[in-house]
């Protein structure tokens, strides 16, 4: 699609320019058939079996722009990224990237398991375009950021998957790229490392780097990106301001099937190692009539004071997962305690506007403007509202009727 909302940028302002890119995957019966097709491009015999992964994509990303990419699995997101990285050759069209480029797609894919962390740093960084002198100069910093101790001098095959990712991320980020592609690679690793990574990415962004951010979490897209594209069937279905695109996508997905994907998955780490967690959630009443008050009492525990910027969010959702209302303390400028120990915060609704139905309540504890999820309790409480029949619908919207009589 063309987008009038984004005027054609100046030449020097363009970080990524994709022009009419098409990627077809011909379905070859055997590698030999693929060979023949390369040597004699016009040879028939393929039977016309072609899968079009990218269908005429044109996209310009300005320098310093942070763009989210959303879409279902199979929509073409990965192919687009691979074309950008140059690991996949487009069937037609051109891709131009200005400046040094790094992709956090498959962290550590270029590592050789038999070689030490140090050796792999040199290999990997030179692949990303650094000279030996540059790597020498950054080695200490790379080692410090990865924070894997003596393992730095040991073969990579002895690493845990966490250490592997730490080292790979550290190398990629130290190339100081002008264009950075972040896939969901960041969901691995522990929370403190995730925060370190985000801080680093934020610093790159502040310096004017262009970032493409692929995520299934609409919340992350909204918080992190300025613009977003929504891909479907190999095309860009919608492009625009990030939260607008993310909301349209969510609406679309809800209409499509009732099992909506959870935005923020619980971190899945055991409580022993998390820096903070939610202890209890209590509802003042779980069966009520409309317009009654309700309070959600939350107590949470902080273990690690060094983390700042905690925020709590409470979401009310329908039983089908539809997100009805979900404010958080950061967006509403409420500061919550961040000293270590237990704290209590109450979320009060003086007059519940929801109509008859059963609703679920999710509570989440985050940091970093909501980018990093520390704890997320999905469906921690259920709330049933029962009312005599006075209206259809989900929510009471203040209104009045005016009858005009001549």
């Amino acid at each position: 699609m063309t987008d009038q909302a984004h005027p054609v940028p100046l030449e020097s302002d363009v970080a990524i320019e994709i022009t009419q890119v098409v990627k077809d995957y011909a379905i070859y019966r055997s590698p030999r058939e693929r060979l023949v097709s390369l040597i004699r491009p016009n040879s028939a015999g393929n039977g016309g079996k072609i899968f079009r992964a990218l269908d005429d994509i044109s996209l310009t990303v300005r320098r310093g722009e942070t763009m989210g990419i959303i879409g279902r699995n199979g929509a073409g997101k990965s192919t687009l990224l691979q074309v950008l990285c140059g690991t996949v050759t487009p069937t037609a069209g051109t891709v131009r990237i200005n400046g040094r480029f790094a992709a956090l797609l498959e962290l550590g894919a270029g590592f050789n398991p038999d070689f030490t962390g140090r050796e792999n740093v040199y290999m990997n960084a030179s692949l990303l375009g650094l000279s030996k002198a540059e790597i020498d100069g950054r080695l200490d910093s790379i080692r410090a950021f990865a924070d894997i101790g003596d393992f730095f001098e040991r073969p990579v095959k002895t690493y845990s998957s966490g250490m592997y990712v730490r080292l790979a991320f550290s190398v990629a980020i130290h190339t100081e790229p002008d264009v950075l592609i972040v896939d969901e690679a960041l969901s691995v690793g522990d929370i403190r490392f995730q925060m370190k990574c985000l801080a680093r990415i934020e610093a790159l962004r502040a310096r004017g780097a262009t970032i493409l951010f692929v995520s299934h979490s609409m919340e992350q897209i909204k918080r992190f990106c300025q613009t977003a594209i929504w891909m479907e069937g190999g095309r860009i279905k919608l492009r625009g301001e990030a939260s607008f695109v993310a909301d349209r996508f969510r609406d679309h997905e809800i209409g499509r099937d009732s099992g909506v994907r959870q935005d923020t998955q619980p971190a899945g780490v055991s409580r022993g190692e998390v820096p903070a967690f939610i202890e209890t959630v209590n509802l003042s009443q779980d069966f009520m009539a409309p317009f009654e008050p309700v309070t959600v009492d939350i107590s949470y525990c902080i273990r690690d004071e060094s983390i700042r910027g905690f925020l709590l969010g409470v979401a009310i959702k329908g039983v089908d997962g539809q997100h009805i209302f979900g404010p958080n303390t950061y967006l509403e400028h409420v500061e919550i305690p961040s000293k270590s120990g237990s704290h209590r915060v109450s979320y009060c609704i003086p007059s519940m506007p929801l109509l008859t139905g059963t609703y679920r309540i999710d509570v989440g504890l985050f940091t970093d403007k909501g980018m990093v999820c520390l704890d997320y309790l999905s469906e921690v409480a259920k709330l049933t509202i029962a009312a005599p029949y006075f209206s259809e619908g989900l929510v009471y919207i203040p209104h009045e009727w005016i009858v005009h009589v001549d």
Binding site: Y25, A26, Y28, P31, R32, R34, L35, S37, L38, I39, C85, G86, T87, V88, T89, V95, I97, R100, F101, L105, E106, A109, G110, N112, D114, F115, E119, Y122, M123, S126, L127, L128, G129, L130, S131, K132
Partner: protein
């Protein structure tokens, strides 16, 4: 697109890695480099000189025969190491093809360089052995490294072409072993070119290993000068061949990710 990798530095690292993985991780390490050619040389000398009683003009003793044999084997080993490894060079690195931006054309170059390192070490063994058998290598032996380097374009051409084709045609991996054995016996290693009957001369006209083998023997065991004109022609053709091999590689590399 993204051709930003630091080629030379990458090459050095890969070569170091290649050599190290071969010699660092084994118990005897670099000793293998000496042991392997010496053992093979022992067997060949025993069979051809001791059992078949092969005669080589100008090589009267068994020791002389061993030196002549060894010189030929140095060239053959470069060829064999490159050819046999080539089909798996690209297939063996799926991550480099699919997951990261990697100049895969460098992998065949590294393979050739590694084979050349082995050849240089073998050359040192040859010259030391020559001296040990009482014939101090002549001044012309300083040209021997040149003869080894002359094989580089030919080997690169082979490595690029076979490694690229090997991605699509898996049968090649089976085939190269046979081809290597054929060249071992059809090249003038165990016999001089002059011993080939007139009717079979075509065998050596079309064998690209003949020139480097003969020239290497000329500057080492025969203590003479190489035939610069033949060497020059061979080099010219080799460069042409390398160019073709590279073109083929570039062309076929576009489909690597689709089949690996």
């Amino acid at each position: 697109m993204q051709r930003q990798a630091n080629f030379y530095f990458l090459f050095r690292q890969l070569l170091g890695r290649e050599l190290a993985s071969r010699y660092r991780t084994t118990a005897l390490g670099v000793v293998w480099l000496l042991l392997q050619p010496l053992l093979m040389l022992g067997v060949y000398t025993l069979v051809f000189s001791g059992i078949f009683k092969t005669r080589w003009a100008g090589a009267a003793t068994t020791a002389d025969f061993a030196l002549v044999l060894f010189a030929g084997l140095i060239i053959f080993n470069i060829f064999s190491e490159v050819l046999v490894a080539a089909p798996a060079l690209i297939i063996g690195q799926p991550n480099y093809v699919k997951k990261v931006v990697f100049p895969v054309e460098i992998l065949p170059v590294v393979r050739v360089a590694a084979a050349l390192v082995t050849a240089f070490l073998s050359l040192v063994i040859l010259l030391v052995a020559q001296a040990a058998f009482g014939q101090a290598p002549s001044f012309s032996a300083i040209l021997a490294p040149l003869v080894l380097l002359e094989t580089v374009p030919m080997m690169l051409g082979i490595a690029w072409a076979i490694s690229a084709l090997g991605v699509y045609l898996r049968d090649i991996a089976q085939f190269v072993g046979i081809v290597s054995s054929m060249f071992l016996f059809l090249s003038p290693i165990f016999f001089p070119s002059s011993a080939i009957p007139q009717g079979l001369k075509w065998l050596i006209y079309f064998n690209p290993l003949v020139t480097p083998m003969e020239q290497l023997r000329a500057v080492t065991v025969q203590q003479g000068l190489p035939d610069f004109s033949i060497l020059g022609q061979h080099f010219g053709l080799s460069v042409l061949f390398a160019g073709l091999g590279f073109q083929l590689f570039r062309r076929l590399s576009r489909g690597f990710a689709d089949v690996i």
